[in-house]
């Protein structure tokens, strides 16, 4: 009889211990879940910002190398190889064939704007008014979102009487990305 009572008592104590452990495990799990959720919320709230930051950095890197890419660079057309030199004639032809280059650079637009000599008004270049214009827009849409720019030398072949000479002007190349 006495042994039976003792056994029942120790069983009850064991159950209590198990219950205690189960509660503690639940509490710890709940605690970790809450903390995890808190961390996730904080991390994901900055995700959009970091994506924009990354794109801005990408635009900056692209704009530094774009002028020296084969699609834009002067190459050997204006004497020795020049750095940061864009062939305006090449850029105009590229503009006409821009549909073949959609998603090539992963940007929404590329624009070349003459800075000096300063023009009286903004004239967008097309095959009809070139070179008496000051803005070469690779795509007709406006620059939206954010953009990065870099100084370039915009060179072309110019006539002076019967002679042809190299004329280089100061310009800025702008790369724009859509805001996400």
């Amino acid at each position: 009889m006495c042994i039976m009572v003792m056994k029942r008592k120790s069983d009850k104590r064991g159950q209590l211990k198990i219950q205690q452990m189960a509660f503690m495990l639940m509490a710890i799990t709940l605690f970790f879940v809450l903390v995890g959720m808190f961390v996730l919320v904080i991390k994901f709230s900055g995700l959009k910002e970091s994506a924009t930051e990354l794109e801005e950095k990408n635009a900056m890197l692209l704009v530094t190398k774009l002028a020296n890419s084969p699609e834009f660079s002067c190459g050997g057309a204006f004497g020795s190889n020049r750095i940061n030199c864009v062939d305006a004639d090449k850029a105009m032809m590229l503009k006409e064939n821009m549909h073949k280059y959609i998603n090539f650079w992963g940007v929404s637009n590329i624009e070349i704007r003459k800075i000096y000599p300063k023009a009286d008004s903004d004239v967008i270049c097309n095959l009809g008014n070139y070179p008496d214009c000051n803005i070469i827009k690779m795509r007709p849409k406006e620059i939206t979102g954010y953009d990065m720019s870099n100084f370039i030398s915009l060179c072309r072949k110019e006539f002076s009487g019967d002679e042809v000479y190299d004329k280089c002007e100061l310009a800025k190349i702008m790369v724009s990305y859509e805001k996400k």
């Binding site: 205690q20 503690m24 710890i28 605690f31 970790f32 903390v35 961390v39 904080i42 991390k43 900056m60 704009v63 530094t64 002028a67 020049r82 750095i83 940061n84 030199c85 800075i115 000096y116 000599p117 300063k118 720019s149 870099n150 100084f151 370039i152 030398s153 060179c155 002076s160 000479y165 190299d166 004329k167 280089c168 002007e169 100061l170 310009a171």
Partner: protein
């Protein structure tokens, strides 16, 4: 017996509390590390470098027997005291071309990001040309370009 049980329960509570505190501290440290923003990378100042390289290629209206001269060639000719085909002094043409180029490229003002700039062209460490506008501040970026014949170009922009 009862006192022993209470003591045991208290010990367990303290242990549980300690575990919670240790875990919380570890998580806080981890959170602190993950939230600490990575130090902003030092971005190479490509814009000023590119500007100097681009303006050196700018074709001026000064002509010699062969061609219209670029600013770079004008610097060399100014150094040797030569004249344009139309009789103008190369140094004067260089000066006016540089003023135009820099003024149009870097708009200076109190309400603008650029507060001032300095352009210096040295030959054999002696000043050949010096252009300045706006205010000198402690926040500046610059570029140096070294040409043959000991010609050095320094351009500094103050923000």
């Amino acid at each position: 017996m009862k006192q022993k049980k209470t003591k045991k329960g208290q010990e367990e509570m303290v242990g549980f509390g300690l575990i919670i505190i240790i875990v919380a501290i570890i998580l806080l440290v981890f959170l602190g590390f993950s939230l600490r923003k990575s130090q902003k990378e030092v971005v190479e100042d490509y814009e000023i470098d590119s500007f100097v390289q681009a303006f050196l290629q700018y074709t001026t209206d000064c002509q010699d027997n062969l061609e219209y001269l670029s600013i770079q060639k004008l610097i060399f000719d100014c150094n040797t005291g030569e004249e344009c085909l139309d009789g103008r002094e190369t140094c004067k043409v260089l000066n006016s071309a540089l003023i135009g180029v820099v003024e149009e490229s870097w708009k200076v003002g109190g309400d603008r990001p650029v507060k001032g700039y300095e352009l210096k062209i040295n030959v054999n460490e002696e000043e050949m040309l010096f252009l300045t506008e706006g205010n000198i501040t402690n926040n500046y970026r610059g570029s140096a370009e070294y040409l043959p014949k000991e010609i050095d170009i320094y351009f500094t922009v103050y923000y």
